[in-house]
Amino acid sequence: MGSSDGKVVAVIMAGGPTKGTRFRPLSLNIPKPLFPLAGQPMVHHPISACKRIPNLAQIYLVGFYEEREFTLYVSSISTELRVPVRYLKEDKPRGSAGGLYNFRDLIMEDNPSHIFLLNCDVCCSFPLPEMLEAHKRYGGMGTILVSKVSAESASQFGELVADPVTNELLHYTEKPETFVSDRINCGVYVFTPDIFTAIQGVSSQRKDRANLRRLSSFEALQSATRNPPSGFVRLDQDILTPFAGKKQLYTYETMDFWEQIKTPGMSLKCSALYLAQFRFTSPNLLASGDGTKNATIIGDVYIHPSAKVHPSAKIGPNVSISANARIGAGVRLISCIILDGVEIMENSVVVHAILGWKSSIGKWSRVQAEGDYNAKLGITILGEAVAVEDEVVVTNSIVLPNKTLNVSVQDEILL
């Protein structure tokens, strides 16, 4: 069904600055999609995955951020990957499906036969060409990427049930209170243009019901969140749940890693996952060294070409060092993200931390955390331009930008 040579358009949902406050304090300085994982902005990973889709015509990045925040990035990535990428700013919240519908004219300009929808803050191997092939075989309106997770964590996501033979989506519930299934929605979808008709259907149905509702004042007392405005269409509750079991939606399971990057702690975990993936897909991006001419490297490490690392330093595993950082003699870095322009002086130790742009770490100081990616203070985070003086220890803490620490702190948030 559909021409096998049809063009493909990919839409990546980027979110916005007042949404997702869980990514603070890093999101105080940079839009989350541009935060680097394994040396590349977060959104770079799904964008490069899209490049592997045959007949990809256009990538749209859709978000609530101001256009100027993405202008530079979008133009440089378009040039680098030689595929047109364009940022579209949403003017008001319309829900995940409503947002897609809002830009349908632009999306359909290239007359695509298939449309990918991806969430920017998903970390996975993005098996997009394989997903597209499977979708064409199933012949439905949409195919959802799914993954198996632990039963305990499943309730944080959309749980679904699929037919083991036909892979049809039989049942879908968003964040259920009781256990439904350990298969969850990964936030990556491929649709045929019929999706727009489906979204429009939901939207007009809601408008009709709203008109009926105005007749009853009792109904008017119900909270607004249960009855969103007519233009507001959520993909999960309004499309996936009602269309499940109607031979319209199918599933494609990924056996690779899958995570959501909602908090800074998770960005450290996902940076490590992408670094591990580089070892197979682009090993030339990873650093190597044995302490003679270059620093000793353990495990997966990314070092930007402009960063300077003293040969007596020992780096890794799971370390990512951004542009113009300076790592001094005898420094030990384990499981951390070192952002642009950071200076780390001699003999310091950094473990389980994210060091913000232009921060400086004094001699013999120690920036550390227990390394629990999900705990509020499980990873130590230093905001932009934080200065840690010599011999100071910072443990399990979050420090907002432009602070100077001249005494040790533990288990604290410093505004």
């Binding site: 007042t18 406050t21 907002l400």
Partner: protein, 361 residues
């Protein structure tokens, strides 16, 4: 006459408020902090004010344009490219501070509020004939600050002791100076501390005099002192028999209500409350010892004490907000929620109670 106001850095102690607005523009008693000082300077004939800043000059410059015309005073910025401490900025702004008149110039720390007795200070400086005059104020806990050890009878300053462990005196540096232009010759353009490097030299030459500040004094650079400072400021307004203070059966003690704010029935407001422009206080609300910034809506039956509510936030019905709760811009506290000392960053919704002081990012 000229003046320099040391605005300095990022105002991190006043976060989360300063995440939305640079510190000098954060309102205190319904007026940007820095405007209190600029107005007082204009009143004694200062014609040019230089703001020594190192952060967000664009936001500051817009504000300045607006107030230059309104007040009829020249306001310029002197921007540090690296932090220059408390004296370095004077050297940076040298050309703006010296003119042929040879008159002394004021230097103020931007976090300080007081009655700004600048006229008395000019007379003091003339009478004692020192090279530099500084204001000092008496405090209960001098070791939190820099103590000025002085000869009480002559007003001459002996030395400065930073955060002394033993009692050496109870007068501290109030952050208000009147300096002869010759002081600028003593300051190099590098990070320099006026208390540690410049003043001690002048004191050794017996040319530094200290005047005890009449009236109240507060460093409102952090939330707890901001709240205390409001009490002192409103108290001082009351003493001047100001018509600015609100009156009525629903008002207790000193309360400032902006003319565009609306207050409902059955409320009890005060003491020590400031309500900003465009605020809506619905019926049955109790407010005490708090600041409510521009555009805030406080819903029915809510109760707020000893807290600061940031611009355009909302407080839900029957919510109780107390004990140094600081809400940043656009924070929405749901109905019936309790906040005990919550410090909440901008653009958040508080859906569950905060039982003990904590930061909500």
């Amino acid at each position: 006459m000229k003046a320099l106001i040391l605005v300095g850095g990022f105002g991190t102690r006043l976060r989360p408020l300063t995440l939305s607005v640079p510190k000098p523009l954060v309102e205190f008693a319904n007026k940007p902090m820095i405007l209190h000082q600029i107005e007082a300077l204009k009143a004694v004939g200062v014609t040019e004010v230089v703001l020594a800043i190192n952060y967000q000059p664009e936001v500051m410059l817009n504000f300045l344009k607006e107030f230059e015309t309104k007040l009829g005073i020249t306001i310029t910025c002197s921007q540090e490219t690296e932090p220059l401490g408390t004296a370095g900025p004077l050297a940076l702004a040298r050309d703006k501070l010296i003119d042929k008149s040879g008159e002394p110039f004021f230097v103020l720390n931007s976090d300080v509020i007081s009655e700004y007795p600048f006229k008395e200070m000019i007379e003091f400086h003339k009478a004692y004939g020192g090279e530099a005059s500084i204001m000092v104020t008496k405090v209960d806990e001098p070791s939190k600050y820099g103590v000025v050890v002085m000869e009480e009878s002559t007003g001459q300053v002996d030395k400065f002791v930073e955060k002394p462990k033993l009692f050496v005196g109870n007068k501290i540096n109030a952050g208000i100076y009147l300096l002869n232009p010759s002081v600028l010759d003593r300051i190099e353009l590098r990070p320099t501390s006026i208390e540690k490097e410049v003043f001690p030299k002048i004191a050794a030459e017996k040319k530094l005099y200290a005047m005890v500040l009449p009236g109240f004094w507060m460093d409102i650079g952090q939330p707890r002192d901001y709240v205390t400072g409001l009490r002192l400021y409103l108290d001082s307004l009351r003493k001047k028999a100001s018509t600015k203070l609100a009156a009525g059966s629903h008002i207790v003690g000193n309360v400032l209500v902006h003319e565009t704010a609306k207050i409902g029935e059955g409320c009890l407001i005060g003491p020590d409350v400031a309500i900003g422009p465009g605020c809506v206080v619905e019926s049955g609300v109790r407010l005490s010892r708090c600041t409510v910034m521009r555009g805030v809506r406080i819903k029915k039956h809510a109760c707020i004490s000893s807290s600061i509510v940031g611009w355009h936030s909302t407080i839900g019905q029957w919510a109780r907000v107390e004990n140094m709760t600081i809400l940043g811009e656009d924070v929405h506290v749901c109905d019936e929620i309790y906040s005990n000392g919550g410090v909440v960053l901008p653009h958040k919704e508080i859906k569950s109670s905060i039982l003990k002081p904590e930061i909500v990012m």
